[in-house]
Structure formats: structure tokens, C-alpha cells
């Protein structure tokens, strides 16, 4: 499998500019491209796939310059948003298509092997419109692999999938890396999917590269409110929220720890209300069980904060208006400094 490198690529679409951007992709690695809407994620994928011209910089595959190569000559499997399945062809003929195009002498066995691998054999004669979302994803992937790509570039896998199919997809993508050793680039809004497949995160913001980091450092040092939310921080206060927080003791304490872009911390551990301890005062606004225990919303000064009761909590949920005390683990407070962590 190939190594891919993008050196300072820049792309312009209408008034939008992306880049300059560096990327490196080795065999068997997966990169998740994340960022708020309008960050340029799809633009980046379409430029890599050859559907938008790269205005400056170079794209290399194993030292071969692909910057100006047409899409069909890049050896790159692009799965667009919505998957791009051929509505007029059956599942079998979708998967067979790249083999036909390549002029493979006897395309059927290879296509059938892919159908088997992705559990599509019983659906071989159906049209894509007659498949579930999860089945369509498997067809898209089988078809992409039929072209024997050197890189798979997938825009929004997992979009509009139910919980089961989403779980399935994680396994399929992991397989792709481990078995086929094809490097993968995914654009995703789904943190669970991203953290389950990606070795590296590329965070874009308004057309610029904000951060390239592995999962661990992304989780430890989120530079912006967006990244902090993506990394699952339940309490993310951007700079305006911190400034608006009033002049209470907790707000002042927090402001002292915030970076230029704000501050983030995990859900606060709240001891059982009948044994209150902790440095700060709060009032329960809402309490609700969720898969991780019992989630509280508490008000402290003018801030609404996410908090958690101990997992083993079995008494009735605390009533709205009841008072609690809490501590903030000081090593868990992340200033958002807007720049990539060292």
C-alpha cells in the first residue's frame, strides 16, 4: 500500500479558500477530518479525489505527483456524501462496475467474493433504493474496494444510520485498515465513529488547519470550543460565556483558568447531596438518568454546568432547587488557547 503526502495544498471554491494544508498518510492508517460546518472538510476530500483543482502545493502518492491527475487516475476510492451508488444497477452490478471499467477479463468471481465478504450475496439482485442504510454503506465499500484503491476517502460515513448499522460500520472500517491495509480519510461529525477508527485527527476551521493530533492529545488539549465538544467535554464555555458569567466566586475562579477561547471540563463529580462536601455551591436545575449514570444540570453563579452523581446512586433523583456542593478537579480544567497543543 501507498504513502500519500499533501504539501501545502490550497483550494478555492467560489469565495471560499482552503489551505495551505499539509497531510501525511501511511498504509493502514486512518485520519478523521473534523471541524464545524463550513470548515472545508468536503472541499478537502473533493480536492484529494480530483474534483476540485489544487491551486497551489502538491499531492504525492509514493513520490508520484498527482496534483493535476484526473480523478480516474488517482487510485483513490472516493465515497461521496449519500454514497453515490448507481440507482440503475443492481448491487452485483454496482460492485462489478470498477472491474468492468478496468477491463478485468473475468470480473464475476472478484465481484462475488466482495459480495460474500460484505454479506451482500442475498441482496445481489436488488437495486440500491431497496436496501437499508447499513446495506447501502456495505455496497459502497465493496464497490470502492473492487477498484483496488490505494486510499479510501469517505465523506460522512454513518450518516443517517441506526445504532446497529453504525456499530457494524465501525467494525467494517477497522477491518479495512487491518486486513486491506488501505489508508482511510473520513470526514465525520460523529465523535464515536471518529474515535473508534482514527489514528490521527485533522481539525479544520474556516478553511485553515487548526490542529493535527492523535486521539490522546486531542482529548487532553482541545484548542477550541468545537474540539472540546467533539472530544466529549460536557462543560464547554467559550470566551463570551466566560465573560458573561458574572462576578461570583466560582465564575471568578473559572475565569482565572480560561484561555483566550474559553475553558472546558468534564461533567463535575457531585457527591451524594445528603453528605455535601466541596468548595463550591450549586443549585440543581434538572436530573436525568443516562447511559453513564445520573446527569445533573446545576447552576453556579450565572453558569449552567453539567455534573454527575456517583454511578452507584440509587436513591430518588435530587429535586430541582435542591442545593449541592462540588469540587472541580483542577487538573481536569482545560484552557482553550485556540492554537495547536505542542
Amino acid at each position: 500500500m501507498s504513502d500519500w503526502r499533501a504539501d501545502g495544498i490550497e483550494v478555492a471554491v467560489g469565495g471560499f479558500r482552503l489551505g495551505p494544508l499539509d497531510l501525511a498518510l501511511e498504509a493502514g492508517r486512518a485520519v478523521a477530518v473534523v471541524g464545524p460546518s463550513g470548515a472545508g472538510k468536503t472541499t478537502l476530500l473533493r480536492a484529494l479525489a480530483g474534483f476540485l483543482p489544487i491551486e497551489r502545493g502538491r499531492l504525492w502518492r509514493d513520490g508520484v505527483d498527482l496534483t493535476r491527475a484526473p480523478p480516474e487516475a488517482r487510485g483513490l476510492g472516493y465515497v461521496p456524501q449519500g454514497l453515490g451508488l448507481f440507482p440503475h444497477r443492481t448491487v452485483f452490478h454496482n460492485v462489478r462496475y470498477p472491474l468492468e471499467i478496468a477491463g478485468t477479463p473475468d470480473p464475476d468471481p472478484a465481484a462475488e467474493a466482495l459480495l460474500d465478504r460484505f454479506r451482500l450475496r442475498p441482496l445481489a439482485d436488488r437495486r440500491p433504493a431497496a436496501l437499508s442504510g447499513g446495506e447501502q454503506q456495505r455496497v459502497a465499500l465493496a464497490r470502492a474496494l473492487a477498484a483496488d484503491p490505494e486510499l479510501i476517502v469517505w465523506d460522512e460515513p454513518g450518516q443517517a444510520l441506526d445504532v446497529e448499522a453504525r456499530h457494524d460500520l465501525g467494525g467494517v472500517l477497522a477491518d479495512l485498515r487491518a486486513v486491506d491495509r488501505v489508508p482511510i480519510v473520513v470526514v465525520t461529525h460523529d465523535p464515536a465513529l471518529a474515535f473508534s477508527v482514527a489514528d490521527e485527527f485533522v481539525v479544520l476551521d474556516r478553511g485553515r488547519l487548526l490542529l493535527r493530533a492523535d486521539a490522546a492529545s486531542l482529548l487532553r488539549h482541545p484548542p477550541t470550543a468545537f474540539v472540546a465538544r467533539f472530544a466529549g467535554y460536557e462543560n464547554v464555555l467559550d470566551r463570551p460565556a466566560v465573560d458573561r458569567a458574572g462576578d461570583g466566586p466560582f465564575a471568578r475562579w473559572l475565569r482565572g483558568r480560561a484561555g483566550p477561547e474559553g475553558v472546558a471540563f468534564r461533567a463535575l463529580p457531585v457527591p451524594a447531596p445528603e453528605a455535601p462536601r466541596g468548595a463550591w455551591d450549586g443549585v440543581v436545575r434538572a436530573a436525568r438518568p443516562d447511559p453513564d449514570g445520573i446527569r445533573l444540570e446545576i447552576a453556579a453563579d450565572d453558569l449552567m454546568l453539567a455534573a454527575r452523581l456517583p454511578r452507584a446512586w440509587s436513591a430518588p433523583l435530587p429535586a430541582a432547587g435542591s442545593r449541592v456542593r462540588f469540587d472541580v478537579p483542577s487538573d481536569g480544567v482545560r484552557p482553550l488557547d485556540g492554537a495547536a497543543a505542542p
Binding site: 479525489a49 480523478p71 472516493y78 444497477r89 477498484a147
Partner: protein, 293 residues
């Protein structure tokens, strides 16, 4: 119905609702009758023996053959000229696109007699350069097969332009991009993905073009009421069928006008339904996209 929940899944309807529904149904029925009754009147005016005689008459057969042949050429020309224009309008943003779209609808809104007159002044008046050019190439326009096809193309090709534009617009660009990324060059992607997906809409447009072409009379009365052999036509002198019927009617020959019209109507219907049926049931390459070996 007295009380109890309704189970047919339709909303309950009050008196005003029923009144509106009744008015709507009456309006629809009137219009449908207006479509059907004239055809029924036409088909039943002449006795069946007269229809049979018309069907067996050589001039009628020649006229119908000429009309179907010219319409087929017009459809072919539309496929070659109008489908690319539809694609251009569907896939490309360019300056003057709105102007082009307006020009496409022009032949539909201009009375067809005037279309015929325009073509006459452009091509059939001996003093014009285009007439000279056509004559130099040995292509007669006036009262010739070229004249018939020209009129038919002008008045009927817009339907194929619009239908294929809509059909190409409905093809998801991402599907085409997926094909490119799977190894298809632009031409292969067009032939194996874009065209098969748009095929149905294009065929529907060509069918409309054909129907419009065979029914043309206004322009033909001016430019090619008679067709003499020459160019792509080697049959005997004949009228397009619409002109033929019109002349029977003008001469007061009502029974023959009805009989000939009926014969042509039945043939046209049969062709129309045959194409629709074939398009719906046959495993045509544009439906499965299996254009590749």
C-alpha cells in the same frame, strides 16, 4: 356512517369539504370528456367499411408513410441536437443561459404558421443566401422532405431539450463523481452512468417530440404542403397526413376526412403505446446501465 371511528385512514369531511370535492370532480370530468368526446366523434363518424377503404388506399398510405418517416427523422435530429443542448443547460452555468432557455421555448409560443413563414423567408425565397447555399448543396427546401423535417424539428425539438434538461438535472452529480473515482473517464462515466439514469426522461421527451411532429400542420401548410421526391425521400408526391386531411375537409369530403384521420389516429396511438410498453418492460441497455461488454 353513524359515530364510531373511521378506519379508512382518510380525514373526516364536512359539508363544505364535500361540496368542494364535488365541484373539483365535476370540473375534472368535464375536461376529460372534452378530451375524449371529439376523438370518439371522429372515430365513429365514418362507418368501419370506410375506414378500411381509407386504410387500403394508396395515397393515404403514402401520406401516412411520409409523415411517419419525416417524424422519425425529426426525432433523430432532436436526439442529436436537442439532447446535447439539454445536457449543456442542465450541467453548466454560463452567461446568457436564461436567454438560451427563452430561445428554446420560442417555437412553442410562436404560432406555427409563423414558424413556417419564417422558414419560408429564410430558406425558400430564391434571393436569400441560405437558399442559394441549400440549392448549391442540392438540398431543396420548399415542398421537399427537408422542408417537412425542418418544420417538424423547429416546432417539436424544444420538448426534447426541456425533457432532457430535467432528466440530466435529476442525475445526482455525486453518483457520476463516484464513477469517475472508480476508474471511469468522463466519456465512460457519461455513457455508463449519466445517460442510463437520464435515459427514461430523454425517451419521454423524444416521444413528445414525435407526437408533436406527426401532428404538425401550420408550418407545413406554408413550407411543405406537398413533398416531391428528392433528397432523403424517394416516394411519390404526397401530402403530410395533416395537410391531406385538411384538404379533404376543405373539399367538403367529411366522411373521408373522418376515415383517414381515424386510420392515422389508430396507427399513431399504436406506435405511442408500443414505445411506452417497450420502454417499460424491455431490458433496454439504458435501464440497467449494462452498456459495457
Amino acid at each position: 356512517m353513524t359515530g364510531g371511528p373511521r378506519t379508512d385512514g382518510r380525514p373526516a369531511r364536512g359539508i363544505a369539504g364535500r361540496l368542494w370535492l364535488g365541484l373539483g370532480a365535476a370540473a375534472s370530468a368535464s375536461l376529460l370528456l372534452l378530451f375524449l368526446l371529439p376523438i370518439a366523434a371522429l372515430l365513429t363518424y365514418a362507418p368501419p367499411s370506410r375506414l378500411l377503404a381509407a386504410a387500403m388506399s394508396a395515397p393515404v398510405q403514402q401520406s401516412i408513410a411520409l409523415t411517419l418517416y419525416a417524424a422519425a427523422l425529426a426525432v433523430l435530429a432532436s436526439a442529436l441536437l436537442a439532447v446535447p443542448l439539454g445536457y449543456l443547460l442542465a450541467r453548466h452555468r454560463f452567461r446568457g443561459r436564461g436567454v438560451v432557455e427563452s430561445i428554446v421555448t420560442l417555437p412553442v409560443v410562436v404560432p406555427h404558421l409563423l414558424v413556417g413563414l419564417g422558414l419560408f423567408f429564410l430558406l425558400a425565397v430564391p434571393s436569400t443566401p441560405l437558399h442559394a447555399a441549400a440549392a448549391a448543396l442540392g438540398i431543396p427546401i420548399y415542398d421537399s422532405i427537408a422542408g417537412v423535417v425542418l418544420v417538424m424539428v423547429v416546432v417539436s425539438a424544444p420538448y426534447t431539450v426541456v425533457a432532457s434538461q430535467l432528466a440530466f438535472q435529476a442525475v445526482d452529480g455525486r453518483v457520476v463523481e463516484a464513477a469517475r473515482s472508480l476508474g471511469a473517464g468522463p466519456a465512460t462515466a457519461f455513457l455508463t452512468v449519466t445517460l442510463p439514469i437520464a435515459g427514461r426522461g430523454i425517451v419521454a421527451g423524444l416521444l413528445l417530440t414525435w407526437a408533436r411532429a406527426v401532428s404538425e400542420i401550420g408550418g407545413l401548410l406554408i413550407l411543405a404542403a406537398y413533398v416531391f421526391p428528392g433528397g432523403l425521400y424517394s416516394g411519390p408526391v404526397a401530402n403530410p397526413i395533416s395537410v391531406y386531411v385538411y384538404e379533404l375537409f376543405q373539399n367538403g369530403n367529411l366522411a373521408d376526412a373522418a376515415a383517414v384521420s381515424s386510420v392515422f389516429l389508430l396507427i399513431a396511438f399504436a406506435i405511442f403505446l408500443g414505445v411506452r410498453l417497450a420502454e417499460r418492460t424491455a431490458r433496454l441497455p439504458w435501464r440497467s446501465g449494462e452498456l459495457l461488454p
